[in-house]
């Protein structure tokens, strides 16, 4: 089949559109159930990877002229009625599905090319979920048709579930949506074919971006570098506690690793854990796996001298950043195109003085 010409999106354009509509800022706790309406456009295009290779993607995008991979983050509240309209701008058939978010099934069924459909459901169950295209699984999900949605407990601003360990405030929560990318598969799907080769991921992203180490083109550019992307990098003061909803759209199992402090591990694959373990590695299952964790901005426990607010002030006065990385410890994920260590799925954790 002749390869079609696809609109090319730079990573900057891709993330820029996503950043325009952070779900986090649109939600605040309330004592009543609301009706939430959202429209996604299924679009396609090429996204340039860190080694300069263009790869085909599809996305649940915010407009007909954009390509959002992953789709925009959403937070709703327990009991809300959610109406999601999907406008399929492509020729291929797609769908929209979320597993477990409602007591009833959430799946649009087939949305033919050029058609639209609205999925309506009640958000019955608190937690973190991947929304995704369930058709032609897993191909449409892998190629970019996925995103994160969370259900907050009714009227609660700082708990994952009623009675859970608390995080800072409604804005003290993040999504880390991971994906792994085999460009051979992506480009086959873009050409209307079913991949026939063994799956070999060559690029690794969190929230659609990969890292750019200092000195690399795009380093510290929020729409290019996952270490600078405000959807991914963590900023906090001593005493802050940040909830992170990790979702894995890819096919590879991962080991989420924070430096600086252990994480508090709250849930796995939608199940709240009976005991909260403190871990520096949390396993994240493939194919829609999820974990919820809290990163406490406590003084790094093994630092000598002890870290205090004055330590952070001193660093800032000297122009130093008090920073630690988060990266996946299955270290193949830290590469791009078979090399380029630090151009994979990682971000940074910034401590700031009060």
């Amino acid at each position: 089949m002749k390869r079609r010409d696809f609109l090319k999106f730079s990573s900057a354009a891709m993330a820029g559109t996503a950043l325009g509509g952070l779900g986090l800022v649109s939600w605040s706790p309330r004592s009543y159930a609301a009706t939430i309406n959202k429209t996604f456009y299924i679009t396609e295009g090429m996204i340039t990877q860190p080694d300069g290779v263009d790869v085909y993607f599809r996305g649940f995008s915010s407009s007909q002229g954009s390509l959002n991979v992953p789709g925009e983050q959403m937070i709703v509240q327990e009991g809300d009625t959610v109406n999601i309209t999907i406008i399929n701008t492509l020729n291929s058939s797609h769908s929209f599905a979320i597993d477990g978010i409602s007591d009833s099934s959430v799946n649009s069924g087939r949305i033919r090319g050029g058609n639209r459909a609205t999925v309506s459901f009640r958000a019955d169950n608190t937690g973190s979920y991947l929304y995704y295209d369930a058709r032609n699984a897993p191909y449409n999900r892998l190629v970019g048709l996925h995103g994160g949605i969370a259900v907050m407990p009714n009227g609660i601003s700082d708990e994952l579930y009623p009675g859970s360990p608390t995080f800072n405030n409604p804005l003290g929560q993040y999504f880390w949506v991971f994906n792994d990318i085999d460009p051979v598969w992506h480009n086959a799907i873009g050409n209307g074919q079913t991949p026939t080769t063994r799956y070999v991921p060559r690029y690794f992203t969190m929230n659609g971006l990969s890292g750019r180490p200092p000195g690399a083109p795009g380093a510290m550019v929020a729409t290019v570098d996952s270490m600078a992307d405000p959807r991914s990098k963590l900023d906090g003061h001593l005493g802050d506690r940040t909830l992170i909803r990790c979702l894995n759209a890819g096919k590879a199992q991962h080991a989420v690793h924070t430096h600086g402090n252990h994480m508090e591990w709250l849930s796995k694959n939608g199940n709240n854990l009976a005991d909260v373990w403190e871990k520096d590695i949390v396993p994240l299952d493939a194919n829609g796996g999820s974990v919820d964790i809290i990163f406490p901005f406590a003084p790094p426990p093994d630092a000598w001298p002890r870290v205090t607010n004055n330590t952070l002030r001193q660093a800032e006065s000297e122009g130093r950043h008090f920073t630690f990385p988060m990266h996946l410890h299955d270290e193949m994920t830290q590469t791009a195109g078979g090399g380029l260590y630090m151009f994979g799925a990682l971000t940074d954790i910034y401590y700031h003085s009060s």
């Binding site: 070999v200 180490p213 199992q253 630092a303 130093r320 990385p325 090399g339």
Partner: protein
């Protein structure tokens, strides 16, 4: 150009690494797109020490010295010799520095064992043709002692990491420069923090043990083992996205046969004794460890006690997780411990490493 700016901090730490002309972080001009990944001395995105930012050091309670050894031949059970890299113990027991980063390292590297609350110095000595770091995994020190190149710096010459462990348990240390390659090449060793009670107690106020085993289970892809230390850092496909292991080892011993009986890996204990297994998932791929039908009580993970211990006969783990388990039985016997190493995508078992617990 770097994300971390220089400062004018006064330092008492001596002999900071100089910047070289052959290895430095690449400028803003672009990535080059290929070549150089396997060439000696060609490296990109490594970050020499910025002397003005190096912190002052306190007086340590204990010092470990580590050099670099990139020629550690390991003979596998099938007779194949695979070259490993590691950290040499250059202290010689007297705290002196090694010579230019060369040394007689083992795979895995010699363990670091300290007591909770001690101020520890890990002095790293790297030769002038390369960069490395030491990251004390699970230990959470100040960022300049964390050993992460892009956050602080990579080391060429001498550098001292200062830390004070506050939680007893099982950790490991590894290189964090071009980590995907260096850790796979074997640049790691166990790191044990004993509680104030000393060895024989798992953590402060925690369970006691009579016998101890440190099982660092790892997979090796021998096709990676001819690469240069900086392979891939400047671009070009050197295959670091794809790990196809052909050997599976337990604490540096081939798990095909040798680990079944190797001293220091295989365990011999008496009925009623309490064995503490410090299991480290030292590879990159998912693992499942089974204890030969014995019951294991997980008491801690990643250097932290569990709120409630968990009784298991097997554990699924991912890269760099650690599990501390107490095993105690009144039954004589020989129990074969098996660790499956699984494909990170398909979950297929790629290989199994085995050792034994013999109970007399």
């Amino acid at each position: 150009m770097g994300r971390r700016r220089r400062s004018s901090t006064t330092t008492t730490q001596t002999d900071p690494s100089p910047t070289t002309t052959t290895t430095s972080s690449m400028g803003d001009g672009g990535m080059g797109g290929g070549g150089g990944g396997g060439m000696m001395g060609a490296a990109c995105y490594v970050y020499p020490v910025r002397p003005a930012e190096v912190p002052a050091l306190d007086t340590p309670d204990i010092v470990y010295n580590r050099g670099i050894d990139m020629n550690i031949p390991m003979t596998m059970d099938d007779g194949t010799v695979v070259n490993m890299w590691g950290f040499s113990d250059t202290g010689g027991g007297g705290g002196g520095m090694g010579g230019g980063g060369m040394g007689n390292a083992t795979f895995p590297s010699a363990a670091i064992r300290v007591t909770q609350g001690q101020i520890v110095h890990t002095q790293l000595n790297v030769g002038m043709m390369m960069f490395h770091t030491i990251h004390h995994h699970g230990i959470e020190p100040e960022y300049r002692s964390d050993g992460v190149g892009h956050i602080s710096w990579d080391v060429q010459g001498n550098y001292t990491y200062q830390w004070r462990p506050m939680h007893a348990g099982t950790y490991f240390y590894h290189c964090h420069t071009n980590t995907v390659l260096h850790a796979e090449m074997g640049m790691y060793g166990a790191l044990i923090v004993d509680p104030p009670e000393g060895p024989g107690t798992a953590f402060e106020g925690g369970p006691t043990y009579d016998v101890e085993a440190i099982w660092a289970v790892d997979e090796i892809d021998s096709s990676w083992h001819n690469l240069d230390w900086a392979a891939g850092t400047c671009g070009g496909d050197v295959g670091l996205n794809e790990l196809n292991p052909d050997y599976f080892v337990i604490t540096g011993v081939d798990g095909a046969q040798s680990a079944l009986t190797a001293p220091g890996v295989a365990v011999t204990m008496n009925r009623g004794q309490r064995l503490l297994v410090r299991y480290i998932c030292a590879g990159y791929l998912p693992q499942q460890i089974r204890f030969g039908g014995l019951n294991a009580e997980i008491i801690a993970s990643d250097g932290r006690p569990l709120p409630n211990s968990v009784n298991v006969t097997k554990i699924d783990a991912v890269s760099a997780e650690r599990y501390d388990c107490i095993i105690q039985t009144s039954q004589r016997g020989t129990y074969t411990v098996e660790v499956d190493i699984k494909d990170w995508i398909t979950g297929d078992v790629l290989g199994t490493a085995r050792t034994r617990i013999t109970v007399n």
